[in-house]
Every structure is written in C-alpha cells, then in structure tokens.
Symmetry: C2
Subunit: 360 residues, 2 copies
C-alpha cells in the first residue's frame, strides 16, 4: 500500500480509510474528493465522495455541521470538489436475511466541517457514473471528466502497472534504462517515414526508433539496455496497427540470437500478465462492470504459458495459403493474414525468420 | 543480483563468475567479452576480458587450446570481442609478505576453445584503459569506444539507477506513470520557445512540458501522476543550465500546496541518494579512480538531511544584495546569484515564493 503522506488539504486518502478503518474509528480526519452524489433533504445528508484511491460515504447532520453548511452540501452539484473534516465511524451493518453472512465492516466519515474547493458547472457534458454511451467527440472534448469514469481511470492505472512490471522485469535481467535523443540528424531505420523539423537553422527529424543509439550503448559495453519512450512515424495510415506517435518498449543486448531476444520478450510479457493477475484484479473488475453495462463480454487476464509458439515464416505462408488466400513465399504478411494465423494461435506467438530480402 | 539467463553465445556473465566462482570451480562455461589486454608470448597467454558485468582473466595453454588458437589470441587486437569456452578455476593466491592477510579468492577461466567474434581495427582512436585525456571531438566521434571507458560506463549505470530509484519512490507515494504527447498543437507553458514542425499538413510544436496533460490527468481523478520523458525547449542559450532536449522528472498531484510538493521532491531526492550510497558505491569508486588519475577531487554521495532549507525569495534577494550585487525585489535571480546563495547553502535547497508578477 502506498505511503500517501498527509498534505495541507487532507490527512488521509479515502482508500486509506476504507482499508485501515478499524484503526481509525473515533479519530478526526480531513479528506478531499469529487462528489458523486448526495442524498437526504431534511436534517441529514449522505455524500458519496471519490478520490483517486477509492470512495467513501460522508454523513452530515445539521446539528453537528450547522444548518448553513448542510444546505450548501445539499445544493452542491455533482463532481464538485469538497473537503470534509470529521470523525471516522463504522457504518451500520446492513439488515441480513436469515442465514446470510454479514459483509466485512465498512466505514464512513461523520462530518463536522466542510469546505467547497470548486463547484462544478451544471449540466455536466457527460455522466461519470451513468451507463449510457457517450460519443467519442464528447469524451475527448471533456477528457478530464471522461477520465473520472471508473473504467477509463482503471485502464490508465493498468497501463501504469504494465510500465512498472515491464521495467521491473527488464532490470531483473540486467537491463539498464537509457534515454536517447528524439531530435535526430538522419533516419535510423529504413522504410519508415520521418517527421521533418528545423533544429534552429539545421534540418532534422523526429526519431522513429532508438535503434542506432541502443546499438551504440551495447557496443559501448553497457551489455543490456532498454528505453521506454516515444517514437514518431510519419505514416499516412489509418489502421489500429499504426500510430504516428507511440510509446515503445525497446531493448538491445549483447551476445544474443533472435531466439534469446524472443526469450526476453516472452518472459517480460509473462511477468507483466502474472503481476496484473496477482495484484490488479480490482481494476479488471472495474473495466468488466462497465463492459457488463454495455452488454460486452468480460475481459480476463490469462497468464500465457512459456514458451510462446514460434511460427516460422514458411509455416505461416503455408497456413495462409491453406486458408485459400493468394500469397507467395517472399510476400509480406499483412494484418488480414495475421488474423488467419491468430485463429489457430489465439495467444501470444512469434513470426520469426522472414526472408532477408524483405528487410535487408 | 540480476538473473542473466544463458544465451546462445554464453552460459555465464563475467560478473557471475566473479561473484559465484566458488560454486562454479571445475564447471565448463562459455563467456564473451572485449579483450582489454593479453600477456604472454610463449606457450601460455593471459587475457583480460571485460563484459558489461565485470572483468575476468582467461588463461590459455598451447597444449589445451592448440598452438593455432593460442597464436590467434596472442596476435589479437585490443577491444576485439572474443568468446571463450573453458573451466572455472580458482586463481593462485598472490605471494604474501609476512603478516599480510590473504585477499578473497579470485577466479579465472582456463580456456579450451576460443572464437573471434570481431577483430578491432588498429590503432584505436582512443584508449579504453589509458589515463591520458582525450579531446571531446575524439570522444564523440568514437562514442561507442568512449562509453567502454570504465568511468563513462559507470556514469550511465548511475544514471539508470537514478531513474529506477526515483520512479520507485514516486510509485511508493501513490504516483502513477503516464506518457503525454510530444507533438502538440499549442504551447503548454508561457515564456518558453517552441520547436515548430508540421504534423502532416497541420502546424504543430514539440512539447516543452507535460504540464497541461498532467493537470488533465489529476482533474480526471488520477490523483497523483508522473512522467519521466523528453521535453524540448528552443532556447538559444549556451549555458550548462540550458538544454534544448532533456529528460524531466515531472509530477502532478491533487490536493497539495507548494510545501507538499517540495516534500515529494526532497523525499525523492533523499531516497535516490540513499539508495545510490547503499547499492552503487562500486560505480562511484570507478568514477573516482578516473578522477584520481586526472588529479581531480573524488566525488562522494552525501545523503542530504530532510527537510531541505527553504530560502524565501525575499531572503534570497537580501543575501544577494549583502554580497554587493545590484538587485531589486521583483528582479529575476540568475545563475551567478544562485552561486552566492549556494556559498551559504551548499546542499540541496528550495527558492520558493517568487513574486506573482514574474510568472503570472
């Protein structure tokens, strides 16, 4: 669990109170968050508060917090940011049917003070907890709100974990992280379009790969290096396999064959999937709650077995020909062909050993 | 210790044999490396071999390896890459003077096979183990050889550690890693020059900061985020405080004051220095061996105490005025002024709370 350190705005995160509630009962805390909803019109009010670590209910009573503050909160717009001070309490357990076992204890904050940090405009351009679909334009025009939706936020968290676990694995195999220049004087890989630019008075390009720099580092005795950073490709394609700017996991190592390099890759992917399966199921569940609301199949983290299948180029060509496609030895294997291969090998697999003439 | 995994080219790294030599004595290994030197002209030869993990002596005897192979190695150029197969043996302990305690056991490989992977051209444009100074042009024109010099290589290793420890600390405080676009449509920070470029038919710029994207992520409920990535600044300055392309540690967090942010920074720096001091002294020693050869003072890793001093802008202006400089409240504090402050506060320190008008 992260060590959040108290800040001037709050003593605890909501996640800490959920997790360590039993230790905190009776203690005064100050918390901050976005208001998802409030309920209760009379002398009491319940607020569903959310920060980046979790959710918590805040309970307000007019006689404890004052009628004026109660009124402010009751009239507050959703997604406003609020700061509450109050006492941690165990929530009243739910009524159980006969034979039902009680859920684990849950906690709330009974407020004695509130501060409005920002009031959200109404109406919101998109709902944070609604399950209705939202157009992509609306999402991108209001990305800060889109990101607050639980499944979108969870995907960014999972992405951060992939970076963390991938790096962790590479370092465990002796790889050292480097950063290579992104403004370069000439192309480092053939066959890929470059973005031209001016470096003051000198023509230059954006780097499409750390290739030459990685090789230089390895020739320089750095043994094993990696970079996780942006690469730029001025390809005028509009497919889900092309991006003009992307983050690449790029490795280079001394004294390895293609088989050794595939070994690094498959062990890294295995480590990442294994760690996600062990540590991050809550974020997968969050994504699946959304998917269920959209009547989509749930995703699952299936840790791949090692080694991944190696499908030689020759075998791949045969497989594509067997599926009735026009392809000859020496041709490129395009994405529709990959789908044919994926039908037989649905998990991770390698397609090594292409004809030398294609990538001289 | 890293798990290096054997490759098609070698079963062990030189570092592994140094470290686990006692377990490996009598076992056959295959190793690769750069040849730093060879000694012995007759029926025997000693090779100093170096890879990215350490150094090892390889011992060759004509009757074990064959006269022809021995001759090849004896005529081999320095910095060629060689592969040796042989048996791990404990080196004969050095002769001791009376009362001298014996050094820890050291290991070597007694070769029974050699493969020349690449032969280095002669003469080398720069020496790898020489202590003579080399001009910057020669170093940059032959950067792969320059990097093989122990102290240069050590600095890249230390740099990789700083990235690792810094990330580790930020993750421990709940920060999630993000990557933000580097091709952007408009400036994200005022007052800094941008590199213009064309994104296909659209004018664009290289990003000078992840600022707006980080803020968007935090407003999106990601709570605490960081990016370690390139930033581009088209500033026409030639000082050691300006770089046109650099890697920034960039953080953003919800519900923090300037004091809280300084806390994150100083704890991170403290953690990095502490880890370097605990784990990486060997690399500092390598740098200092070089520095000693150049009659330079050794560097040391002094773990800074917490908190770092905060020097208010007003106090800083006073200090600079006291040193006899012409400066008024509201002026910028330039690098020569910083040197005056550093004379009194030689360690890490903050200069917070500048007049709002300077950075509106």
């Amino acid at each position: 669990m992260a060590d959040w350190h108290p800040t001037a705005y709050r003593t605890h995160t909501l996640g800490e109170i959920q997790e360590r509630g039993a230790d905190l009962v009776g203690k005064e805390v100050t918390v901050c968050g976005f208001m998802e909803a409030n309920r209760g019109k009379g002398a009491i009010c319940f607020v569903d508060l959310r920060d980046g670590t979790g959710k918590l209910q805040v309970f307000l009573k007019g006689d404890a917090i004052g009628e004026e503050s109660l009124d402010v909160v009751q009239r507050m717009t959703r997604e406003s940011t609020l700061q509450f001070t109050g006492i941690v309490a165990q929530k009243r357990p739910p009524k159980l049917k006969e034979g039902e076992s009680p859920p684990p204890p849950a906690y709330e904050v009974v407020a004695n003070g509130v501060e409005v940090l920002t009031r959200a405009n109404v109406p919101l351009p998109l709902g944070i907890t609604d399950t209705v679909s939202i157009g992509l334009d609306t999402r991108l025009d209001n990305r800060f709100l889109d990101l607050r939706r639980a499944h979108v936020n969870a995907m960014f968290t999972l992405r951060a974990r992939v970076l963390q676990y991938g790096r962790e694995h590479l370092i465990s195999e002796g790889f050292k992280e480097i950063n290579t220049p992104k403004i370069i004087a000439s192309a480092s890989e053939g066959g890929t379009n470059l973005f031209p630019m001016m470096y003051f008075d000198t023509p230059a390009f954006l780097s499409q790969s750390p290739q030459l720099y990685k090789q230089l580092a390895v020739l320089g005795g750095m043994e094993r290096v990696f970079e996780i950073g942006p690469a730029f490709r001025a390809e005028n394609h509009d497919t889900y396999r092309h991006l003009n700017e992307f983050i690449s996991f790029d490795i280079e190592a001394a004294w390895m064959t293609d088989e050794d390099v595939m070994g690094v890759q498959e062990r890294m992917i295995h480590h990442i999937w294994k760690c996600v399966a062990e540590n991050d199921q809550e974020h997968i569940d969050t994504v699946n709650e959304y998917r269920a609301s959209q009547e989509l199949e749930p995703i699952s983290v299936d840790v791949p077995s090692l080694p991944f299948p190696r499908i030689d180029y020759c075998e791949a060509i045969q497989m594509i020909q067997d599926a009735g496609e026009e392809i000859q030895w020496g041709d490129d294997i395009d994405s529709s062909h990959c789908d044919i291969i994926a039908a037989k090998y649905p998990g991770f697999h390698f397609l090594p050993r292409w004809p030398m003439e294609m990538k001289p």
